[in-house]
């Protein structure tokens, strides 16, 4: 679960973002508290707090005085936007690098992509 | 509550150490002595040193107070000064208890004519010369003396190690032997024993208290830089 070699508070923030994106943590719902996060991931509460603080700064979470941290309205869209912007860098660049190494050009890639996308909805359907 | 008092309570948490075991040791020694007296077919008063048995235990208490309780007190974040004063106070309480037992034993012996067998462990005339309180004080001083010797020796050991302790121990022995030699050479034994008789049990007790005080000061000074 926890990745070595990367700042813990970032990973905590990402984990919360993931659960917002996949819908398990709805907008306006209460986010797990710092202590809950710390206990679950077995990490220092201050680190968990740092991750939460980062998300608050981003606008993904907000604090309701006396109650706790809640997911902000529009958080999902915000995160989707972020992911889309980073998509090319995160996924396409490594893809292109690998393709280059094994001798696949952009056209080959486009064909493969369409085939795979068509075959994806129905399982076991050969492209 | 003062932290020194807390150290006293610390020493008394395990009631066995300062209270029960000395009493048990005394009781056992007493029982054995009386049995032996009962077996001796002589009718004149018999005196025995059974009462000194718990004193050796006080020596052992002094040792473990330093070797075991001191490191624990450091873990309890107690200062060396608090530990020293509290431990000495606890030892004094234990010694007081012993002295009380001694006095009670003495009165019982008086009343029962030596446990019915004319055997005496507590009511040794010479000790009771100056009265029961002096006798109690003598026993108190003896118990404290043994405790402080054990404590001081252990403190020296804790701070400077086995070699140093041996040197101090042997050295002290040599000094005493040397003094005895000197007294012999100057043929002053007669005067020495006269002086002892003149002092009596009470006088010796008071001198013992002085020695105890000196040892306490020494052990405190050594303790101040001892590492648990």
């Amino acid at each position: 679960m926890i990745d070595e070699g990367r700042a813990l508070f970032l990973q905590i923030a990402e984990a919360i973002e993931e659960s917002i994106l996949d819908g398990s943590l709805a907008e306006e719902a209460q986010a797990p508290s710092t202590n809950e996060l710390a206990a679950f991931y077995r990490i220092n509460p201050a680190t968990a707090a740092k991750g939460v603080a980062m998300l608050t700064e981003k606008g993904v979470l907000h604090k309701r005085r006396g109650v706790g941290m809640f997911v902000s309205a529009g958080a999902r869209d915000l995160l989707l936007g972020e992911r889309r912007a980073a998509f090319a860098e995160r996924f396409l660049d490594p893809l292109l690098a690998e393709a280059r190494m094994i001798g696949l050009g952009p056209d080959d890639l486009a064909t493969l992509l369409r085939e795979r996308a068509a075959g994806a909805p129905t399982e076991g359907n050969p492209a | 509550m003062s932290r020194i008092l807390k150290v006293v309570r610390l020493q008394l948490i395990n009631k066995q150490t300062f209270i029960w075991v000395p009493l048990i040791v005394l009781g056992a020694a007493l029982a054995i002595s009386v049995l032996i007296y009962a077996m001796i077919p002589v009718d004149t008063p018999k005196y025995g040193g059974g009462g000194q048995a718990p004193l050796w235990y006080f020596f052992a208490m002094g040792l473990s107070a330093l070797t075991l309780t001191f490191p624990f007190s450091q873990a309890m974040s107690v200062t060396r000064r608090e530990f020293f004063l509290g431990t000495m106070a606890a030892a004094a309480l234990g010694a007081l208890l012993m002295a009380a037992a001694f006095l009670i034993g003495g009165w019982i012996e008086d009343a029962t004519n030596g446990w019915g067998v004319n055997g005496y462990v507590f009511r040794i005339p010479w000790l009771w010369e100056a009265g029961p309180l002096a006798a109690g004080l003598a026993f108190f001083a003896l118990a404290m003396f043994f405790f402080v010797i054990g404590f001081t020796g252990a403190t020296i050991y804790k701070r400077w190690g086995a070699a140093a302790t041996t040197v101090v121990g042997v050295g002290s022995g040599l000094v005493l032997v040397g003094l005895a030699f000197l007294v012999t050479r100057l043929e002053m034994w007669g005067q020495f024993w006269q002086g002892v008789l003149w002092l009596g049990a009470l006088g010796l007790t008071l001198w013992a208290l002085v020695v105890i005080a000196v040892l306490m000061v020494i052990s405190y000074l050594v303790l101040r830089r001892a590492i648990p």
Binding site: I2, D3, E4, G5, R6, A7, L8, F9, L10, T34, N35, A38, A39, Y41, R42, I43, N44, P45, A46, T47, K50, E89, D93, P94, A97, R100, M101 | R3, K6, R9, L10, I13, N14, Q16, T17, S64, T67, L68, T69, P71, F72, Q74, A75, M76, S77, V78, T79, R80, R81, E82, R224, R225, I227, P228
Partner: protein
């Protein structure tokens, strides 16, 4: 933030060993610190001196702004549980906890009782008859339940098995979350405590070689693996901590955070990037420091290994 502990140029010289060599550090309140290092590096000596159980040869120590020696005002707010702690003759854990309740103003009997149950500690059995694990549990329980403002743990969990250690870590986090305080945890089981500590201090041979926020150090190094020639070419521009080869494949651990662009560049060359765990980083840093001590060169030589 005023530091709760200030150490300045602390040196401890034994007859045949320099245990601490001009150590300076500053401990801020309310954080969990990891004091990491090899056996004999000086961790216990440092903590002993901070709690006035041992004495400095030179340098200064201030706890809560005062000297700790014979200072009840300071010491009553501090708790130091040792790895091999001595207990009074014939004492039971119950006696030990009763004693702790006397001296630690924040003692929580409720927490102690709960921990006794979790560690399955027989409180009425003589401490000298306890197993190694049970003995360690006594120390751990005192350290946790004392809730002292500054609590030191000197590897007291060494005797505990993995399950018991996990209980300790979990309760530590939980109680710290509830009652924040300054905790200094010494360990040589770095990976186990890596996620608990907010700041990491590495001490090696009496010297501090690292004193930083854990998260900052976590991505401080990277391992690049692949064709030896390409790897070495890339490593030329970075500070190398460690190098291993297996035939024509080389693995190099370098210091320095890589940006996304740099990472992509490395991967584009067909090289693999592997993360460096805190434990690995500290091990390499320590080995490097040892290598430096062995030479008079100003150039820091990385450690090298040939694997056949």
């Amino acid at each position: 933030m005023t530091a709760v502990i200030e150490v300045s140029n602390l040196t401890k010289q034994y007859r045949d060993k320099l245990a601490l060599d001009h150590v300076s550090l500053s401990i801020e309140p309310g954080k969990i610190y990891g004091l990491l290092g090899r056996n004999g590096a000086g961790k216990t000596t440092l903590m002993s001196i901070l709690t006035a159980q041992n004495f400095a040869s030179s340098g200064s120590v201030r706890v809560f702004g005062e000297e700790p020696y014979e200072n009840a005002r300071v010491l009553s707010r501090v708790c130091f549980v040792r790895e091999s702690q001595k207990y009074p003759d014939d004492a039971t854990p119950e006696h030990a906890f009763r004693a702790a309740r006397l001296f630690f103003p924040n003692w929580s009997q409720e927490l102690a009782d709960r921990l006794v149950a979790e560690f399955q500690l027989p409180v009425k059995r003589r401490i000298k008859k306890l197993s190694r694990g049970q003995l360690s549990a006594v120390g751990v329980i005192i350290g946790l339940a004392a809730r002292a403002e500054i609590t030191f743990f000197d590897e007291p969990y060494l005797g505990l098995d993995a399950v018991a250690r996990q209980i300790f870590y979990d309760r530590l986090i939980e109680d710290y979350a509830e009652q924040p305080r300054t905790i200094i945890l010494s360990s040589h089981l770095i990976d186990e405590v890596a996620n608990l500590i907010e700041r990491v201090i590495v001490i090696d041979d009496g010297r501090i070689i690292l004193d930083e926020e854990t998260d900052a150090v976590r991505d401080r190094a990277v391992t690049v693996v692949g064709d030896a020639a390409k790897v070495d070419a890339w490593a030329a521009g970075h500070e190398v901590l460690h190098r291993e080869t297996l035939g024509r494949v080389a693995s190099v651990t370098t210091l320095g955070v890589l940006s996304a662009a740099e990472r992509a560049e490395v991967e584009a060359q067909g090289l693999d990037l592997a993360p460096v765990s805190l434990q690995q980083l500290i091990v390499r840093l320590t080995q490097k420091a040892a290598g430096t001590r062995g030479t008079d060169d100003a150039v820091l030589a990385p450690s090298t290994e040939e694997v056949r």
